[in-house]
Every structure is written in structure tokens, then in C-alpha cells.
Subunit: 204 residues, 2 copies
DNA sequence: CGAGAAGTTCTAGCAGTGCTAGCGACAAGA
DNA sequence: TCTTGTCGCTAGCACTGCTAGAACTTCTCG
């Protein structure tokens, strides 16, 4: 971008930026892999640096700190979840709500460390009115779409938040061994039944 | 208890045991206070030792490690929650379910660090078929009692787990700033409405 | 081609963490 | 009074996230 932008200069710059971006992604992948293999406690800056075959300070030239790395993993995880939910189409005679719920819970079950980074560990990802990462909006959007068919005259977004909260509660409590595994099926049936068909007279 | 149990010997023994028990509780209280004031990150063995005015190794003569201290705080927290739920009687025209839900969520909102130790941080508290702490059973029992009036012909324990999961999801996602505060009321209304009145025809 | 400039990566270190070995003081019993 | 045993302390280990500053490579330009 400098005024002395000769031909070779630009391409070298490009190559550097490309390599930097690749290494950036390499770090994120390594962190996620390590966390999924041994839990987030095992993700230390030293082990991570060793895994990407650079020294620790290199991590800090890409990310402000360890938290920022976890955040990057979390955001990409949201993208994955969104993709999974979009792909989850109901099979014969199954509601879309159920398909989404099952996809969500399976994601949480199969990628506990990733799920943890996304929704359990506290991070300063801006969820509020600020510019939320697109991946997040996508994932939530998929949930909204799944809830829409059963909303009735209820508030769509609030209802989706209820749906999400319930799934999240089930996912985390299950992960912590705090729910009875033998109720897994019944529990989901009850939740979906309650959310789908409630004709909610107000009060009491 | 020894064969040389003279009079003064026994009382001295008793005094010692009593003082030990007091200090045990002192450590738990200090840990909880510190966590509630500054978050669990601030609860280090050094700061905790300083607060109880003993050196670090004393902590380890009472607890196996830092995790054990957190666990003790969590279990006592369950006792508090159980007490709060038992006290939470519905006001005029309010369902018992709603009273319990509001009490639960207020507890989570007002004691976030304590709630965290109880239900978020992973611990090796035996939730399964092992001997679960009584405080935990009490708390869950209160939830069961609140759900009972609306169970219909549904499975009581599984339904209670759904109720609990939903509350837990709402509590933790709210705490992480992941839900919209302006929906707080609507969200709870929707959840209670769904759980109370669903006449659940099976399937779809 | 070769010297200076620019940028990049590494070594080494800081302050803090959970936890523990082993010493020293103190109290109980003979 | 001397021995015995309990108790709490000091000091230290191996680890954490993070960073200053040296050392090295790469590019620019006379």
C-alpha cells in the first residue's frame, strides 16, 4: 500500500500477509484441538506454542492474550454450530424444532470443550447491541427459524431464547453429570411437547 | 476416645475438635465471601490464607486442595438455595411454579459466584447414584414439589429436570450477558406457560 | 556488492498460581 | 524437668500468563 509499490514488493507483502493469516488459523486450530483432546486446562501458552512450533511471544503477536485465542475458537465454533443447525432437517414425521434440538444437543455432547468456550466460559464477546459476530447471529437465526413454526401468537425472539436456554441448561447440566442419563429421551420429549403445543392462557 | 480418657483430657480434645471445626467453617466462609466480592479468580490459596489469618498449609490440613474448598462452598450453597425455595410461597394468584422459578433466578442473580460454584464449575460432587449431599437432594426436592401441581400425567422427575434445566440455562446465559434483558419477563412467562398448560399430544 | 534499516522471532525472566517438604515452637504426659 | 508428639510456619518446587530486549533474518538503497 506504500507509494513505492513495485510489483515484487506487493506480492511479497501479500505472501507475508497470507502466511500470517495461515499461522493465525493454525493457532486457533491447535488451541481447539488441544482443548478437545485434553480440556481447556491443558491449553497453556507453552504447550500451544510447542504445538504450532513457534515460541510463546508469537502467539501474542497474533492475539492480545490467551482469552482472545479462546474467543476466536468460540466464534468459529458458532459458525460450525450454525452450519450444523442449518443442515439439520427433520426426518419423516419429525418436527423442525425437534431436529434442531437434537442437532444442538449432539453438538454439545460431541464437542464439549468447544461448546464450553462458546457458551460457558465467560468472555467479552459483545452479545449486546454492539456488533455481534456474524457466526453468532447465524446460529441464533437457525434457532429462530426452528421455533417459528410453533410460535403461535407468542413473541418469537423471547420464545427462541427460552428454547435456547432450555437446550443450554440440558447440555451443561448433562455435561456436568447432574442429570439422569436414563431420562434423556423423556426430558427432550417433555420440553418439545411443552414448547410446541402450549396454548397459553395468561396468568397462573 | 483413647483408653487414658481422663476428665481433662477429653475436654481438651473436645475443645480442639471444636476449634478445628470452627476454623473449617471459617475457611469456607472466607472463600465464599472472597468469591462473592471479587470472583473466584481472586480466591487464591495465598489470599484465602491471609484472610483467615493462617498460613497456606493450614488450608491443606482441612481440605485436600482448593477444589475441595470450592466444593464445600457449593454444597452449603445448595443448602441455602433449598431453604430459599422452601420459603418461597406463592403470593395471591401466583402459581407455586412461578414462585419457585422467581426465587431460583433471584438466587442466581444475587449470588452469581456461589451459583457458579454450585452448578457451573465442574466438580467431582457425586450427583449420580452415589451418596449425593443432602443439601442437594433438598434443593431438588423443592423443585419437584413446585412442579408437582402442574405435572398432569407427565413424568414428575423428568419434568422437574426440564424445569431445572430451563432455569439453569436462563440463569447462566443471563449472567454471561447472552440474553436480552428486556425479554426477562416475557421469557419467564413463556416458560411457565409452556410448562404448566401443555396438554401434550405425542409426537410431531 | 555491502551497509544500514526494518521487521520478526527467540531467549530469558517476572510475578503470580496450587501445593508440599521439613524445620521449629509449643503443649501434654511421665 | 525431660521426652514426645502435634501443630503451624518458612521456604521452595513446578507450573501459569505474559513481556522486555537481544539476536537474527530480510529488504532497501547507495
Amino acid at each position: 500500500m506504500s507509494s513505492s509499490a513495485r510489483f515484487s514488493g506487493v506480492t511479497i507483502q501479500n505472501r507475508r500477509e497470507r502466511e500470517r493469516a495461515e499461522r493465525h488459523q493454525l493457532i486457533i486450530d491447535a488451541a481447539r484441538d488441544l482443548a478437545e483432546a485434553e480440556g481447556w486446562d491443558a491449553v497453556t501458552t507453552r504447550r500451544l506454542a510447542e504445538k504450532v512450533e513457534y515460541s510463546q511471544p508469537v502467539l501474542y503477536s497474533h492475539f492480545k492474550g490467551k482469552d482472545a485465542i479462546v474467543r476466536a475458537v468460540a466464534i468459529q465454533g458458532c459458525g460450525e454450530l450454525a452450519r450444523l443447525l442449518r443442515k439439520a432437517r427433520p426426518s419423516r414425521g419429525e418436527s423442525r424444532l425437534r431436529a434442531a434440538a437434537e442437532a444442538y444437543l449432539e453438538f454439545a455432547r460431541r464437542r464439549p470443550a468447544l461448546y464450553d468456550a462458546m457458551f460457558v466460559q465467560q468472555s467479552d464477546i459483545p452479545w449486546g447491541t454492539d456488533e455481534v459476530p456474524q457466526e453468532l447471529l447465524d446460529a441464533f437465526g437457525e434457532l429462530v427459524a426452528a421455533v417459528e413454526p410453533v410460535r403461535g401468537d407468542r413473541h418469537l425472539e423471547a420464545l427462541t431464547e427460552v428454547f435456547w436456554s432450555s437446550l443450554h441448561g440440558i447440555a451443561t447440566l448433562t455435561q456436568g453429570g447432574r442429570l439422569r442419563p436414563e431420562y434423556d429421551e423423556t426430558r427432550l420429549d417433555l420440553l418439545l411437547g411443552a414448547l410446541s403445543l402450549a396454548q397459553h392462557e395468561d396468568g397462573l
